[in-house]
Amino acid sequence: MGPSSVNGGTSSPPVTPLRFWRPSTAVRRAVAGERIDLATLLERRVIFVAGKGGTGRSTLTAALALLGARAGKRVLAIDVDAKGDLAAALGSPPAGFAPRVVQHDLSVLELRTDESFQEYLNIYFKVPRVTRLTPLARIFDFIATGVPGPRDMLVVGKIAYEERRKEPDSGTPVWDLIVVDCAAGGQMESHLAAPKAMLTLVRGGIIRAQVEWIDALIRDPRRTSVMLCALPEEMPVIEAIELHDRLRNGSGVGVDLCVLNRAVDEPVTAAHRRLVAALIGPEHADVVAEHLGGSPAPLEAGIDLQAHLYDTTARYLRQLRGRLPMPVVPVPFVVDRTGLTTTRAVADALSSRLA
């Protein structure tokens, strides 16, 4: 089975009965040869982008959102941290709790617990949003601080709610794809595990039925998956591996892909080394410096650093590939600051690696 057998995925996936089996990632990897194609990835309904802080999660989430929109899907990008990073990566001012359109077929939303709570009450209990709910929200906030579950549940619940939302007239889903910029590390796991945790805690009440379908959505690998982010550094790699193991054993969420971000993937060759050696060699130094407009001596450090980073990238790529059953895709380092230009470059890289 090659990428050609999967067509472009221009329409949203049909709503089929839940299927709890799909070829394991190991099998797919063996068949597809280290690859998952972009179309398959974009057929998911919800993709959680997870990884240690600083691994470029927001940029990768934004890149995935751009790719989804390019493939003709209506995409919602959700920022769980609400620090505004995701909106910035999409070239937008900070979004709010209501989805903000950033370009054709692409909206961004920032989650905030209190607003989630109000919306929740509004939808399920018809508590009007205009009512001053401050005391109630405060009490909720307070309980949620101490008792695990409710707050995480609101996060997952809002995501699941957006997944289920239909256009009022046509009845088609409002979003084809939802990409989620997860909170760092452990928090993301409690979000994903929240429905399961709530199910052990809540044995009755209205909430149980809701939690059950949310849990089913999260644990259906055809609809929901995780994209892990790592950097070619020791701790981010270890954390990605550990996060994968815990996800596999814990919340039962499928992991489709691991991205090694800021990969330095251009090797230093013998020709590069020869040129540098000749440039800085004593016999040509003066004339070279004059022609180039400055002494080339520091260039050796640039080449050394490049070689070191290339080796480091290769080493961590091997480590990740050895430990993770799903494809690991390097995305090259982009020098620019976070913003739409960088996101586009990352999206192009991701798309070419997944083609």
Partner: protein
């Protein structure tokens, strides 16, 4: 030693404001050194190296209390593993790695669960209460997910160790929180939570906060919560918070003592950061908060700094010509009498210019640190902290 190490590691030039005494000597007289910063900046490694530098500078018994999740610090320290009980790092082993320790160096790993359990046992009015709380299913989950619970556990462990006076100096590697500030706010947050009126209100039982009046306000919530979650959950929660309230006095008293310790002149904070936008902004914010809380910032360690070499104007000019001049490859081929392709020339120029862009950005960030005033700033060059064995750690300790 590989080429890259010889290029980047020996750079031991000191900071913007140069400080001649090493950090080991500077921090050595303190009882407690707390390393803070966002996750992924190399805090654990810096903490271990600081402990080493202090033990080298002073004849002191030094403990490094770490929260290292990957346990690679144990490997780096040349010991099998670090547990909740302190392990001594053999002097001979350190000497072989190139550092002579005057004092003693020990390392211990923070055990979150143990720290919490002990806390519950200590503050419970009686054993039965402690047992009830420890057995409560909600307890375990709260210790995992209460905001700042890891930070609080770390502070508790630190306080206990400090109180026991077995060590002259304790270096604490703070947990990798989402927000470095969690560490400072953890004791207040816990006290506020346990002592809160809302909690007593939810616990349903009579309390010194006069629950009758409050209960009226909470009635709509309780009704709603009942519908939402079912009555059992609420009963469980309420039972648990009732138990938790019995600990209030103890926790409040401890929080006060902890803040006294954190503000003591014998305590020092070291903020660790990289020059990346996120961690750097957080570090700046953290420094501001420290002064607001009147907690002493003693030094700043800026990790993974690109060498100044990458800002060399001559290098930039040469690299730019290599990238932009279409005839440069032909000229080089003639002059150097070797075949130079345009791609090769561009690659050599480009690799330098990429790092130059980053080095300039870093320099701008570094210059912002002058706002901090007279705090010593130590720059750690890139890669020196990719530590997998004792020699690497020693190298950092010496650079500090």
């Amino acid at each position: 030693m590989s080429a890259i190490e010889s290029t980047f590691v020996p750079e031991r030039r000191r900071s913007v404001r140069s400080e001649t005494v090493g950090l080991g000597r500077l921090l050595g007289p303190l009882d407690v050194v707390i390393c803070c910063g966002s996750g992924g900046v190399g805090k654990t490694t810096v903490s271990a190296a600081l402990g080493m530098a202090i033990a080298a500078a002073e004849d002191k018994r030094v403990l490094v209390l770490t929260v290292d999740p990957a346990r690679r610090l144990a490997t780096a320290l040349g010991i099998k593993g670090i547990g909740a009980d302190p392990v001594r790092i053999p002097k001979a082993r350190l000497r072989r790695a190139g550092i002579t320790i005057n004092g003693e160096l020990e390392a211990a790993m923070l055990d979150m669960k143990q720290a919490w359990d002990r806390m519950i046992e200590r503050y419970s009015p009686d054993r039965a209460t402690a047992q009830r709380i420890l057995r409560n299913p909600l307890y375990q989950r709260i210790t995992d997910s209460f905001v700042g619970s890891h930070e609080y556990a770390a502070i508790e462990a630190l306080y206990e160790l400090h109180d026991a006076r077995e060590y002259d100096c304790i270096v604490v590697d703070t947990p990798p929180s989402r927000d470095a500030l969690d560490f400072l706010e953890a004791p207040t947050r816990l006290t506020d939570y346990v002592g809160s009126r809302l909690l007593s209100l939810l616990s349903g039982g009579p309390s010194r906060f006069g629950f009758r009046a409050m209960n009226y306000a909470a009635a709509p919530f309780l009704r709603l919560a009942d519908r939402l979650l079912g009555a059992e959950v609420l009963a469980e929660v309420s039972e648990f918070v009732q138990q938790l309230q019995m600990l209030y006095e103890g926790i409040q008293g401890r929080a006060r003592s902890v803040y006294r310790l954190l503000r003591s002149p014998q305590t020092g904070f070291v903020v660790v950061t990289t020059l990346e936008h996120g961690p750097f902004t957080e570090a700046e914010f953290f420094c501001a908060k420290l002064s607001e809380f009147k907690m002493p910032l003693r030094a700043m360690v800026v990790n993974r700094v690109l060498p100044d070499l990458f800002r060399d104007p001559g290098g930039v000019a040469a690299a730019t010509t290599l990238v932009e001049d279409p005839k440069v490859a032909a000229w080089l081929s003639g002059e150097l009498q070797m075949k130079v392709s345009a791609d090769t020339a561009r690659f050599v120029g480009r690799t330098f210019l990429t790092r130059n862009t980053l080095a300039q950005r870093e320099a701008r960030q570094l210059s912002k640190l002058s706002r901090l005033g007279e705090v010593p700033i130590v720059r750690m060059p890139l890669f020196s902290e990719e530590v997998s064995e004792l020699e690497g750690l020693v190298r950092i300790a010496k650079a500090l």
